[in-house]
């Protein structure tokens, strides 16, 4: 991943983690996508039972084909857009700061960052069946910076990450206090 196109890495800065949501959290999108792929087959079957003339009319054939084609192309695009939003949501942890890149929609994105020395408190949350089984969850950070609360959602192994961020934060505090 080429980070220079997103953030300016300082000369002394080193990227420690690039975090994304756990892959399993994309499965609901896959399930919706599969259901949307199957929907026209069910609709066609229901129509063929009730509106036989409408389906069998040769004049309607091109319209039905184009409608189905437009529908499927829309589903592929929505799926791809969901993937891009999912994939571009990420958190970058360096030895100096934590950067939150949030792709809200196709035309909307926010980037927020917090210096590690400003982190005051970190907590993790693993809640639910799938998060417990696949070991993913949320990390919440309280900071003394402009962004008082920071959250990292659905990352793999949040407890290990919390410890790593605490260690990095302590090192950064030492650096900034000049010790």
């Amino acid at each position: 991943m080429n980070l220079n196109s997103v953030i300016k890495i300082k000369s002394y800065e080193k990227v420690i983690y690039i975090l994304r949501r756990h892959g399993i959290t994309f499965f609901p999108y896959l399930a919706i996508f599969t259901a949307m792929l199957l929907a026209p087959i069910i609709v066609y079957w229901l129509f063929s039972l009730s509106f036989t003339k409408l389906i069998e009319d040769p004049a309607n054939y091109p319209f039905i084909v184009m409608a189905a084609s437009a529908y499927y192309l829309s589903v592929f695009l929505f799926f791809y857009s969901f993937f891009v939003e999912f994939y571009l949501d990420c958190w970058i942890v360096t030895n100096d700061r934590l950067i939150d890149i949030h792709q809200i929609s196709l035309f909307s994105r926010t980037v927020a960052e917090v210096d590690l020395y400003q982190i005051q408190d970190i907590s993790t949350e693993i809640e639910g069946f799938f998060p417990t089984i696949f070991n993913y969850g949320n990390i919440y950070l309280q900071t003394a910076g402009a962004v008082p609360k920071f959250a990292i959602y659905n990352v793999h192994n949040p407890d290990k990450l919390r410890e790593a961020i605490i260690t990095l934060s302590a090192e950064d505090k030492k650096y900034h206090s000049g010790k």
């Binding site: 091109p62 319209f63 084609s69 192309l73 829309s74 791809y80 993937f83 994939y87 571009l88 792709q103």
Partner: protein
């Protein structure tokens, strides 16, 4: 009864495909601009492009022999009158 030539539907379809193409390009541009060109994003892009080509190819092959000058009935009063016709019950 209101009828329109079938090629009007084709133009609407092509305009819609153009809009979808622009949105897909924006998605791809977002991936490029954010430096997220990894194996995963490449595979997903490849899958979506392959499915799109597959769909467009089948649409073309199904519509190859269509006479675009024929008309499509978009509204017919009989649809309503026949619904209310007691013989249909």
């Amino acid at each position: 009864m209101i009828t329109i030539p079938l090629y009007i539907i084709l133009f609407i379809y092509l305009a819609y495909i153009l809009v979808l193409g622009i949105l897909a390009f924006v998605d791809l541009a977002n991936l490029f601009r954010n430096g997220a060109l990894t194996f995963v994003s490449f595979m997903m892009t490849f899958l979506v492009i392959a499915l799109t080509i597959f769909t467009l190819y089948f649409t073309y092959s199904f519509l190859m022999n269509v006479d675009w000058q024929q008309t499509l009935t978009i509204w017919n009063n009989d649809w309503i009158t026949n619904v209310l016709n007691p013989t249909n019950f």
